[in-house]
């Protein structure tokens, strides 16, 4: 049902020349996998899909149109719309050039969890309804399926859109499940945390899929690849990997929109979003600020106030 609304919307946008192109999701040959697609003709609109496997943050693709004149329609989930707002605030694109097709999002399904729960299942075995996922008519506990980054989501509805596909959701997954995969990490001792991350960092091959999937990592030249000066060695040693990820995390501070696209991109399954997510949690608590929730307020790390209590500096 959502898809037919989506397709009709897309067709109309192209027919009326409201936009020149639409960036959205399409299906692949493989079950439970989608891909980003771009279309510019009405008859291509039938390829558009919307389901809980649409994990890419398509705001990523806006950077390639920064210097073009195209009017672009973009499919945005809650988190994606926050990314667009950060890009607007950072002057990366003009609002008049965008048509946001909002998607009220039930949370993305994690493919590994799905395969673990239902090893042999095919897409036909599942039904997705307003209230959640059903396996042959039986409702599935969302905790068993959803991406960890989505279980902690506070903004399932797009915060900025021109048209919304589906009814706005009244509760966020976080309100419903009260689950944040960062919490158990907070309970670890510093040594345990260090061990945990050291282990994760030995896995990283420095493919930069995390960075390249992130809608807000748009630098022309990333510090990680600069040779003059060289900040981090190209060797994927644990310490250099740490350095890369910690510096990237700091570059994301107050900008990360908690979409989890970086984590889903990682080919070696490192829960890499946990680093920027932790920083966002701190910023939310310390500064009552959440990135991309509006288009005006300046990010805390880009502001200076004389009366700053500074009590986070110990």
């Amino acid at each position: 049902m959502f898809e037919s609304i989506l397709i009709d919307t897309a067709k109309k946008l192209l027919r009326d020349k409201t936009v020149d192109l639409i960036i959205g999701y399409g299906s692949t040959h493989y079950p439970f996998r989608t891909e980003p697609i771009v279309i510019n003709k009405e008859d291509q609109a039938d390829a558009l899909i919307w389901n809980p496997f649409c994990g890419n943050n398509l705001a990523r693709y806006l950077k390639y149109y920064k210097n073009t004149q195209h009017k672009i329609a973009l499919m945005v989930k809650g988190c994606d719309s926050r990314a667009v707002q950060v890009l607007l605030k950072e002057d990366q694109i003009n609002r008049d050039r965008l048509y946001l097709i909002g998607l009220s999002c039930p949370g993305l399904v994690n493919r590994e969890k799905l395969q673990k729960q239902f090893p042999q299942a095919s897409p036909e075995d599942f039904q997705w309804k307003e209230t959640g996922w059903f396996f042959h008519g039986e409702q599935i506990d969302p905790e068993l399926l959803l991406e960890e980054t989505c279980l902690r989501c506070r903004y399932p509805n797009p915060l900025e859109y021109d048209q919304l596909i589906g009814e706005p959701r009244t509760t966020s997954p976080y309100q419903t499940y009260q689950k944040d995969y960062l919490d158990p990490i907070d309970d670890l001792s510093p040594e345990e945390r260090w061990d945990r991350w050291s282990k994760e960092m030995t896995k990283c091959i420095r493919c930069y899929a995390c960075r390249n999937s992130c809608p807000l990592c748009y630098c022309q030249e990333c510090f990680a690849e600069s040779t003059q000066p060289q900040w981090v060695s190209p060797a994927p040693t644990p310490s250099d990997n740490f350095l890369f990820h910690l510096v990237r995390t700091m570059h994301m501070a107050g900008r990360c929109v908690e979409c989890g696209a970086c984590e889903r991109a990682c080919p070696v399954s490192i829960p890499i979003a946990q680093l920027p997510l932790k920083v966002e949690t701190i910023i939310r608590e310390q500064f009552q600020f959440e990135a991309g929730t509006d288009q005006e307020s300046a990010a805390p790390l880009l502001t200076y106030r004389e009366n700053d209590p500074g009590d986070f500096v110990k």
Binding site: T28, P36, I205, N212, S213, T227, A235, A265
Partner: protein
Amino acid sequence: MKSGKVTKNDLVQWLKTHQNNFLVTEKVAHHQPELLCDQSKEIKNIKEALFLPWDKLFNYHWENQQWNVDNIQPSTSPRFLMALPCEARAIYEVLDRVFLQPSETESGYAARRQGLKMVIVGCINPEPTCFCHLVGGNPYWTHPDALFILPFHDEYYLETNQPEQFDIIEQGTTLNKSEKEEIEVLRKQMEEKTNQEKLPEDAPQGLYDLFEDQEWEDLSWKCLNCGACTFLCPTCQCFDMSAEGRLKGFQLKTWDSCMFPKFTLHASGHNPRPTFKERVRQRVLHKFSYFPLREEGRYGCVGCGKCIEICPVNWNIREAVERMVKKIGNRS
């Protein structure tokens, strides 16, 4: 060729006695977890065993008011490596051809390669993403120097040309006539599938002729130009070199990727492959055109499907190649 069969228990016992220097690829671990031992080391990608993610090429230091360089002697230590046929082909058919070129042999690779005893595990569970039969492989492909093992009626079929290297073969009982035939038939079926489905003979030249085709633009749009596909590809060979350490250090070799914009960037700022289109085209054509044109028709892709499995945007090399190969047909 010596062949035979052993019980699963005997095989696992043998693996256990060698487990301290046994590398197992993630694919094998995933397909046949019963072959894993506590101490065997799992590697993501077969090339990690030979072509390390990072490596020291030589040392240098400043002493007595001048620079000195010191060679590093690569060490050879015998190791077993258990891999699927596609992964093994990446070594025999691709990486060896790059790093063991006569007169330009890379000594580090050669030393590690010398010590390597390859155990090829017949593939009984092809995944939807893999396509070895398109590029000259098949699920029972093996190399005479390797030990080939295949689950066979609750036991394991073994085969090798190097019985001294793989003493387990001595424990094997010979196959009876009907068992032998069964193996033959299985093999035949697989080889026939390959012969029927493999890419057309003229694909490498045909794809090269399509260099200027508009389709590349379309094909490359969604690619993020990260290094995930090439770093986890068992055949991708590209590397970078840089100096690590100011007054004392080493020349560092690291994996590199044609998907990175900086890969070909000149110091002048000129870049022969400035956009996604050129970079994606390079990845496809290197594997399906340039490499076979240089290397007697062998593809630079073994069809393992890893790149498809892990790509964050589901970029699919097989689809891309098949789409372009169709164009060769349409033209002629």
